[in-house]
Symmetry: C2
Subunit: 457 residues, 2 copies
């Protein structure tokens, strides 16, 4: 029986015998009895095992070490101790897998840095047990949201010959022998696996648009890559993105979906992971639950980039970066503006020169129908836009930017073959998790993070 | 309104006005009226639009071209024509996006080869519309199955420094400048992004085991890569895999899960995609529905590799490849054995020399606790094994095979730190889709397939 099932059916199991398999998280023994803090990883809650010296192998049991895997047979009883309502009175314990004293995960506070070095063991700690369960549940929330609404899940290609937006440096993918290249002094890409240079995708959006024009509603949920040499708390070289694309949908309707989706995910995770979320609220980010509950009832403000800059300029704040029309906004501005509106803010209609080529050109000739969602406590959480559906305008913009049209014929053709108003957005999955858990470093929400110089496991 | 919703609420919509946006799939016009075959991609069924010459822009409407996107306002009525029960009597049609005569997707039979060249348009055809919806729904079936049973969804790293099983050649991932290498005559991996050689994963299993030892039950569902230079119907360089890992689970229980999961997915897809599945049954693989329904009620046979070879040797068949104890079996053998047992067959206890290093060594010293699932009409659909939980045996096997232990310390340590009997399996998602749809070529179940020399989009 899983511990999760045990707690779900606890009322019916009182005084019943159960068999559990799992791991010893802590062990306190006295002369006549002992307590084992037991977990099997199926839920955040542990089980207290109580054993007495009337067991024939009492001595053996007292020697069981932290980290060991065991099989327990015992009776569920109401606990008289504090800290738990129920416990299991042990009839027998069988050691399945021993654990030596040099086991790194001891029942004490480990720093997150230490645990990053022992990444393969950290899901056994309370913090990471909670983080990666929330990661799993949030992923399911996303799939459920879109599938219930009839979106088609689209697997964008990971290896690609096209660089979506030059949004970051791409990793190159090759089967060429680099040592042979060094020796021969020649690079012949026609001999590479795909017969040309290829790299890892930075976004599946362009390809997702082809599905939107066939299914009306589609979403990606897959890995994307950036070979950016930044060692910050928010950058990873490999991360997961959600990129919905919707045909017959303008920027306003796009924002409706972004808001609706986010609230759905938050509610879903709160419902499914109450213990984990309380833990984060108590030990990781005080006020996390308040923040999330407030989001659920917030009306998201919609305001243009121009008006945001105006507010920032009028604010009686000494900025580190002076806010400017026509320019991007800084973290401090994001923070100010969500506090100003006391809730999430959609900033829309951005200066075209700081946004991607495919965004819908507004009639003012200066801005594009792009939107960023800023949320209190986390800053930018998603970015989206209406896509330029006008063939000529799109080509013109690509030419202005000196972009290569070859290889993007198919993308342009979407505008020729029954094109329509359409929009989409992207959300970094890890950014969402940082927001949901309060854990600040992206390395702590990815099981095996990849960063410059870092590719263990 | 989506066409999907229209059909779901059709009874309540009779004689009501609806507004639809979507695309013209076909158009037949006569002097006094016309029919438009209309689809918005939200369901497999199309809608017939009927318009008459009492519309002010009748002439314009007759000129609408196949592939164009339109907005229609009309009244839902019962159809008197054959081929559909309902149709929409048009009040107005607005052209949203025109489509020229050179639009490649015309209402006629296109070969799959032709459509592969126009991969970005093929989801607009009936066949691929159905294939990629089933792909999306099957993915959801998998997530739902595991999440409802409390499995943790694990995102395995894609870029990795470890080669799981040498199961195929790995793609190399690099940020080194190949031209500079050619010029300098030197490769310095310490200057590469990760400070060492890195590649694209061929399996997330080893990492998934770390999660099984923390959460008891976990599954991956993500892309994997093989730089194998094979141009066959079943090989792609980039494909999606499902890899569950379960602690406290032996090979027999592993097979229980494999069988239960497969039946769940098949039932889920049959329930959610009846129109698509009928289409495949009629036009792609005659008898597909019978095959799948039969699977649902089949008892899966469990038999050892040894006994399978015995049956094959005794069979009065002229084999192309002679079946041998200690060797792998060929496609013709797979086919024979599922026909012999008239249903799915788990072949277990394989010769250790043809299986991976991490598989549980059986006490006979000759075989490992590995299993392949063979299904009628598709051959091998999944492969799994109990994992070797004995540290010494595992190390010994790695030494026998001349494997590098450095870099796999963490994997070995799972056996030292509370190890236990555990098992898992892998299923290629595209192999499942080929089985579910009857579409034979892996290039036709992946939106943008990657194969040697092929990396478009």
């Amino acid at each position: 029986m899983d511990v999760k099932d045990l707690y779900q059916k606890i009322d019916k199991l009182i005084n019943k015998e159960v068999t559990l398999t799992g791991w010893i998280r802590n062990h306190r023994k006295q002369k006549e009895f002992g307590f084992i803090d037991f977990s099997d990883g199926t839920c955040f809650k542990h089980v207290q095992l109580v054993y007495h010296n009337d067991l024939t192998n009492f001595e053996e049991i007292t020697k069981l070490k932290i980290g060991s895997s065991i099989e327990v047979v015992g009776t569920v009883i109401k606990s008289e101790g504090s800290g738990q309502d129920y416990e299991v009175n042990v009839q027998s314990i069988k050691l399945l897998g021993d654990c030596p004293d040099d086991y790194p995960i001891q029942p004490k506070r480990h720093t997150r840095e230490f645990l990053r070095d022992e990444a393969y063991l950290r899901p056994r700690t309370n913090l990471f047990q909670a983080v990666f369960r929330v990661r799993s549940v949030a992923a399911m929330a996303i799939h459920t949201y879109f599938q219930e609404k009839g979106y088609i899940y689209f697997h964008a290609p990971l290896i690609t010959a096209s660089d979506c937006e030059g949004a970051g440096q791409m990793f190159q993918v090759t089967t060429l022998d680099l040592k042979r290249i060094a020796k021969s002094g020649e690079v012949d890409y026609s001999k590479d696996f795909f017969g040309k240079t290829a790299g890892l995708t930075v976004s599946g959006q362009l390809e997702a648009e082809t599905f939107a024009m066939a299914y009306k509603k589609t979403y990606t949920f897959g890995p994307t890559f950036r070979a950016e040499n930044s060692n910050t708390k928010t950058h990873a070289s490999e991360f997961w993105m959600i990129e919905p694309e919707i045909a017959f949908c303008d920027l306003e309707a796009d924002m409706d979906i972004m808001e609706d989706m986010l609230k759905y995910i938050v509610q879903y995770v709160l419902d499914k992971c109450p213990d984990e979320m309380s833990f984060f609220d108590s030990f990781v980010e005080k006020g996390l639950l308040d923040k999330l509950h407030k989001l659920l009832t917030s009306k998201f403000t919609r305001i243009s980039h121009h008006d945001v800059i105006k507010i920032l300029k009028e604010a009686k704040v000494k900025w580190e970066f002076t806010p400017e029309y026509g320019e991007d906004i800084a973290k401090e501005h994001e923070k100010y503006i969500t506090e100003y509106f006391n809730g999430p803010v959609f900033i829309k209609d951005w200066p075209k020169d700081i946004k991607a080529f495919y965004m819908k050109q507004n009639s003012d000739g200066e801005t594009v129908a792009a939107v960023d969602l800023e949320v209190p406590g986390a800053g930018e959480l998603m970015g989206g836009s209406q896509r330029e559906e006008d063939y000529d305008k799109l080509v013109h913009r690509m030419e202005e930017l000196g972009m290569e049209k070859n290889g993007l014929d198919w993308y342009l053709n979407l505008r020729r073959f029954g094109g329509c108003v359409h929009s989409g957005f992207g959300m970094g999955f890890e950014r969402l998790l940082i927001y949901l858990t309060g854990v600040e470093n992206i390395r702590d929400v990815i099981p095996y993070p990849r960063t410059p110089g870092n590719c263990d496991y």
